[in-house]
Each structure stands twice: as structure tokens, then as C-alpha cells.
Amino acid sequence: MNNHSILRVVSKFMIPFILLFALYVQFHGDFGPGGGFQAGVIFAAAFILYGLIYGIENARKVLPATATRLLLAAGVLLYVGTGLFGIFMGGNFLDYNVLAATAVGGQHLGILLVEFGVGTTVAATMVTIFFVFAGQDF
């Protein structure tokens, strides 16, 4: 899609806002609709748009295959790690009350970390699936 100059310019203009909106959905999920799943998908959509307009090779330069694979595992590990840290601090698995000085503070921290883990894995998954599908050279 190298000759579609309108698409190139508009997408270049849109991508930062899509990423920003994804981060807003991610970290505003405690207060309004949204959360890790939706944020991850929107975040991935920005990279997929870039890949569609500028080609998979260029998108892979921004986000190499090793990086997506690492993020894929890092999200799940962050989730499980938050749960295990609860055990380490003397609570149950995924018990956030013990993570901070107060129970409510612990819940805030736990939910933030867990949602971030979900968002990371979902974004990495969507990017991986699309790039692997689109990178097929049949």
C-alpha cells in the first residue's frame, strides 16, 4: 500500500492517538468501562494498522518477533506473579489485600498489575496472530 498517500498520512496521524486511547482504557478501567482485554486489543490494532499500511517488514522493525513473544509470556507471568506475591506476603493466591499497607490500597495495586498483565498478553497475542497470518508467503 505504498501509493495510498491519504491512508499513509491519516494512519500516521491516528496511530499515536490509538495508542494513547489504549493506555487510557487500560488505566482508567477502574473508574469507567474498559480494562486489560479491551486495551490490549486497541493497542494491538494500532500496530496492525501500521502493518497494513506500511508493510509487515516495517512493522516487525518496530516490534520484533522476539519482543512480542517475550511480552506474550510476560503478561501471564505478571498475573501469576501478582498472585504468588500474595502468598509470599502471607495471604492466599490472588489475594490482593496483603499487597500494600491497607486492604483497599492492596486491592488497587493488585487490580492494576493484573489488568496490566492481561493487557500485555492480549496485545501481544493479537499482534502475533495477525503478523503470523499476514506474513504467510503463499
Binding site: V25, G29, D30, F31, G32, P33, G34, G35, F37, Q38, V41, I42, A44, A45, I48, A65, R69, L72, A73, G75, V76, Y79, V80, G83, L94, Y96, A103, V104, Q107, H108, G110, I111, V114, E115, G117, V118, T121, V122, A124, T125, M126, T128, I129, F130, V132, F133, A134, Q136, F138
Partner: protein, 186 residues
Amino acid sequence: MILFLMAIAAFGIIKLRNLFAVVMLSGIFSLLAASLYVHLTAVDVAFTEASVGAGISTLLMLATLAITGEYEKKHTTNNLFPLLIVVVTGAALIYGTLDMPLYGAANAPANLHLIPRFIEQSGTEIGIPNIVTSVLASYRGYDTLGETVVIFTAAIGVLVLLGRGRNRWRPGISADAPSKDEENEV
């Protein structure tokens, strides 16, 4: 009205042989479902449906179409037995819903125990305004962990099937150029 439009979209998905149109219709179906969820004031679910159902999965299906081709094969097998199974299963499911409480009924078990508990206690226990997030990430943290692992597994599955090193097992390659094993034999 939304349900009527969804039925039209579903019928179109069944009838059409052009897979490109089918993918577009399934995206429209998801968008209609999302507006249905907004109507039921389930904004979080609507948000997920719109971004995942109408957005990403349409895109992934289009990427798949680029690999497979645009038209569905005509199949001539007898559809009577599958139709019977679908009708019986559907009838059983509808029969099962007859015992369920009406939507939004005040004396439904969920509205008597769980929902008041979450609405009244989550403010002091969790302290965040969005109760959906409290339930999703804290009260039902195990479920969400399971969902995350499912998504992780999906990515691993795609990588194993289509990812790097796929050429070694792809039969189409060895037809054109001799594979390593054949060369060794020569």
C-alpha cells in the same frame, strides 16, 4: 429491532457463498450485539464485543481469507441429520430457559444474594468505582487468570502451526525443490 437485524445478518451468513461478505456480515452482527449490550447497560461487555468481535476478529478473518480464498465450496452432502441435531439441541436449550427467572426479576437468586453483595460491599472492600472491574480482577481473579492463559495458549498454538520454521513441514516446498533428506539420498 436489534434482534431482528441480527437475525437478518445471521441468515445472510448462512446463505452467502462469498466469504468476504460473510466476514463483513459477522462484523456487523458483532456491532449489533454490542449495541444490544449497551441497551442492557452492560457497557464493559459492549466495549469488548465492539473491539474484539467487530474489530480484531473481522481483521483476522480477512487475513485468513487472503490465505484461503474468497469462495466457499459447494457441498452436496445430506444436511438432514445435522439439522435434526441442531433442532433438538435448540429445543432442549429453550426448554432449559423456561425454568429461569425473567430478565431483571427482583426475586432471581443472582439479584437476591450476589449482586447486592457486590454493589454494597465492593465500595469498601475494593474501593474502585467500576464494580465490573472489581468482580473481574479481584472477586473472580481465578477466572480472569484462566481467560488470560487461554489467550496465551491461542497465540502459542498459532505460532506452533504457522510460525517460524514452518517450511520444514510444509509439503508444498519439497515438491518444487528437493528437501534435505532427498539430497542426502542422492
